[in-house]
Chain length 255, copies 2
């Protein structure tokens, strides 16, 4: 039986302040909850309907904490989904380890990406293209925001996040940084090296001047029509695709 | 002065039923309204704040119908934006002309894309890549839905839309149709011809079997990591980029 205190605790995690204080967050819906249960996150609470139990009983032993079978109404009153007939799980947030850029590794860095939907979509794109680390400026959306986790479609479980002051971070290393600008080199003609950092900027203002000065190569997606700009998640996907495409073509030509 | 009837009329356009009946729609926000005023759409009403008038007085002569200076509160009560300190405009919908695939022309076709945000984003991508026509199945989101228009960021003014029964449409022509599937040919290795139709499917179910049988080449975005799928707007952008990239490289190699 769910106590009033547990209900209050879970509901409080809709706010960043309490997520930080409790070092906990929640995810909703079958896709995200099953991915969470298959990851190395420490799950402290699982609330789910009978339907979810029937379909996912093999995953239930992974719940380290408390397990509750609840009604759809109870789930909806706790989470942010308009309809949720499956599950909600609470897990402990993870603290960052030290960032290291592996050899031949590609990483994404986000300078002030504010929209939770964009951040979540970028996490999903990173996971599609096999990118395992994302550097995120402190002003960006909170990775544990329910909207971010929802848009990531479970991919957040496979990505390491490093929340940092990007200018300070870049000043201490010597990384190949490919920054997306409107007036950079055409990505079709850029020779991407064997690894580096793909830097994307804010939805309205792009990459800030403080962070921009660490960019080693300004890059641009060529435009063939008249739209003024592309959404930041769309732009990220196109750049990742060009980087990986070049690797693919290069590795084939060596064979 | 805005009459009660005008207010009621504009508010009714939030619903597809009334947009169809009145053959009218509205757009909100500075970006979309200024793009609308610069297009060949017939604008019947412009409601805007003093600020918008000051910044865009050169566009006001383009309003064929009624012009009203209103408060931010009035704008917000009529539209769907939480905050709108600029403008809202009503225009007449356009009826489709007959579709024709030009030589060397690329067109997008959408089989049951339901999410208005996805449809709007795809319109913006088409406009970026110089694609001027989109074929849309009848089950897809309504192109005049305020959320679609908002996400398109003004690009809807530059695209021709053809709402049609796609299976029936394809059965009557002989088009090169490149359909996005999870088990098609790697887009990095597809030789896109000099024009054709890029077909994208529903968010959950992909391309329907009835429409899929008209696909001449199944294509797939290669996956390097573990995400199960990509959002349909993201996938559209990556495919458009690969098509245009090939054209670009080809035209350079001919020089």
């Amino acid at each position: 039986m769910l106590s009033k205190n547990t209900l209050k605790f879970i509901k409080s995690l809709q706010l960043k302040k309490f997520r930080k204080q409790e070092q906990s967050f929640f995810v909703e819906g079958a896709k995200n909850v099953t991915e969470l249960l298959q990851s190395d996150f420490e799950v402290t609470h699982l609330l789910c309907t009978k339907k979810f139990v029937e379909e996912n009983h093999h995953l239930l032993p992974k719940v380290g904490g408390s397990f509750y079978e609840v009604s759809q109404q109870e789930l909806e009153s706790l989470g942010t989904f308009q309809s949720n007939d499956t599950a909600l799980a609470v897990a402990k947030t993870k603290s960052n380890e030290t960032f290291e850029l592996g050899s031949n590794e590609w990483v994404i860095a986000l300078d002030d990406v504010r929209d939770p939907g964009n951040l979540g979509t970028i996490i999903r794109i990173a996971d599609w293209y096999g990118i395992r680390k994302i550097l995120i400026s402190k002003e960006s959306a909170d990775i544990y925001n329910p909207k971010v986790l929802h848009a990531s479609m479970g991919s957040f479980t496979r990505i390491q996040f490093f929340i940092t002051d990007l200018a300070n971070f870049f000043s201490k290393g010597n990384y190949p940084v490919y920054g997306a600008f409107l007036e950079g080199k055409n990505i079709y003609e850029v020779e991407f090296g064997s690894g580096g950092i793909i830097l994307m900027g804010n939805e309205s203002n792009g990459i800030s001047p403080e962070v921009g000065k660490f960019v080693s190569q300004k890059i641009t997606i060529p435009r063939f029509g008249q739209a003024e700009s592309l959404n930041v998640a769309i732009a990220t996907s196109i750049i990742c695709d060009n980087v990986k495409r070049q690797e693919h073509i290069f590795s084939k030509s060596k064979k």
